[in-house]
Amino acid sequence: MNLFTILFASLFTSNIALSYFLGMCPFIALSRDIRTAWGMGCAVTFVMAVTAAINWPVYHFLLVPFHIEYMQYLSFILVIAVSVQIVEIIVERFFPVLYVNMGVFLPLITVNCAILGISLFMILRDYSFIEGVFYSIGGGVGWTMAIIAMAGLRSKLTFSNIPEPLKGPGITMIIAGIMSLAFMGFAGIAGL
């Protein structure tokens, strides 16, 4: 598979948010406002790319030679936790408004399953390092695209007459489902 195909697939046809439904918690909670969604998307993309780039050598050069592949979950989570901590320190220092907007969801990137998912899929599909990095960037940008699209749609919803019980997360889940159907269409076009 060439790099372009991997990137395209992770962006559209196997979008981590809309076809695997991973990382749903911040996807629903932080898609109320486009700017916050953009900030969260950038943070997730950064953490995804960095953790995939660290996790690949950790897996292939440390875990595989010593036959301790079963430790991948623990070591991946460790790397993710530290990367998130670094992002948190940087965002707090340089982007205070974004920091307050993200609130508790910034440290919660640690347990965002989309990030662990990307690292695990990368190993499972036996990607090379470069392929893994492209896959993780594609995954992050794809997730960002999905959350921004959702935030845009939700800003339109402000003026819509939504039935009372569906307001908030309810209608968001329905929209996510419809968006997911639309993204499935990409698979047909590209034949991937």
Partner: protein, 360 residues
């Protein structure tokens, strides 16, 4: 599990921890920052904490009823430079003109560089008082009256209606309580504390505070303060635990032999929520110019309540004449204050003659 897995996992953990320690040292610390207060005094602090906490540490007490959670909006100060961008947690509490004047909430502004702050002169006279609990009395099933004898300094000067902020022992949290005693008894104060379900401070007072314990508070604070030089009639409206400031105001007025006409409207849920009723009824019998009106919103059927029934603003509407030229003091939950304000304005009372204290 073999030795290799332990070593490798330990090594990964160690390396990652080392990276974090280095970053924390160079990115998360802000070094020494200078806080310039009113262009005259400068505090040098190690940055990273909120402005409010540095001011508290340096005995400058700014009102903050919520204890720094950005829910009361009391800790407004002007920060001409060094505060960073306005945060979404602050904007609900600030008007456009306040934003234009660089008004910020001291509890939300983190000190990351040198900054200058303008603190209103009246806050600079606020002191910290150390007190001893003289006695604790049950007023009803969920409310206690606390007598605090001032130990250091021994005297407090305040205006009836103002409040203090009680400090929780072994923590940096403060909670606001109105003073229920008149200002002439200036070496002790009385507080009325209602047990808030899940409330840490009221829970502590109801459960753990005993006679002889030492507690400290800061104060006095508050815009709700009796205008002593006015000769207008007085309307007091209190709801729930908004009894305390009026007890201070009314006792002070009649201790000093006022000739002003005083009406006190008090709203509660049911008979079991009432307290101090006998005290005010006695005053009502003795003084011609005082009347005490209680309204219950949900009186128990078997209590044979013969007084007013309804919310306090409805009862106020019924009792007040139009074209009223009185002064009004309100204390209670925000909804009650808002509804009462509408009634008072419709009765002709000027907005500048309405003083209130919203209990969060």
């Amino acid at each position: 599990m073999n030795i290799a897995s332990i070593l490798i996992m330990g090594g990964i953990a160690f390396l990652l921890a080392a990276i974090l320690v280095i970053l924390d040292r160079y990115l998360a610390s802000y070094g020494d920052c200078d806080i310039t207060i009113n262009d005259s005094k400068t505090l040098t602090v190690t940055g990273g904490q909120s402005l409010l906490s540095y001011l508290m540490d340096n005995k400058i007490f700014i009102p903050s009823a919520c204890g720094g959670r950005a829910t009361c909006g009391f800790c407004k100060v002007n920060i001409p430079e060094g505060a960073g961008p306005l945060l979404p947690t602050e904007s609900p509490f600030l008007t456009r003109s306040e934003v234009a004047r660089n008004t910020r909430l001291a509890c939300q502004v983190k000190v990351k560089s040198d900054l200058s702050v303008i603190i209103p002169e009246k806050y600079l006279s606020i002191q910290e008082f150390k007190t001893i609990v003289e006695s604790i009395k049950d007023l009803n099933y969920d409310t206690k009256e606390i007598f605090l004898r001032l130990d250091e300094p021994e005297y407090i000067s305040f205006m009836p209606g103002q409040y203090i902020q009680l400090k929780l022992p072994d923590s940096d949290e403060y909670r606001a309580y109105s003073i229920a005693s008149p200002p002439d008894s200036n070496n002790f104060i009385e507080l009325i504390v209602r047990l808030v379900p899940g409330g840490c401070c009221s829970g502590y007072i109801h459960r753990d505070l005993k006679t002889g314990h030492k507690v400290s508070f800061t104060g006095p604070y508050g815009e709700l303060a009796l205008r002593e030089n006015s000769d207008k009639d007085i309307i007091c409206v209190g709801g729930g635990c908004g009894m305390a400031p009026f007890r201070s105001i009314i006792r002070h007025l009649f201790d000093t032999g006022t000739k002003r006409d005083v009406k006190y409207f008090y709203g509660a849920r049911s008979v079991r929520d009432l307290y101090f009723v006998d005290e005010f009824r006695k005053l009502e019998r003795e003084k011609e110019n005082f009347s005490f009106i209680i309204a219950l919103s949900e009186p128990d059927k078997d209590s044979q309540w013969e007084g007013e029934i309804g919310f306090i603003h409805q009862i106020l509407d019924k009792h007040l004449q139009d074209n009223n030229n009185a002064e009004a003091y309100l204390c209670g939950p925000p909804v009650m204050i808002d509804m009462t304000m509408q009634v008072l304005l419709s009765k002709g009372i000027a907005e500048e003659d309405i003083m209130f204290d919203k209990i969060q």
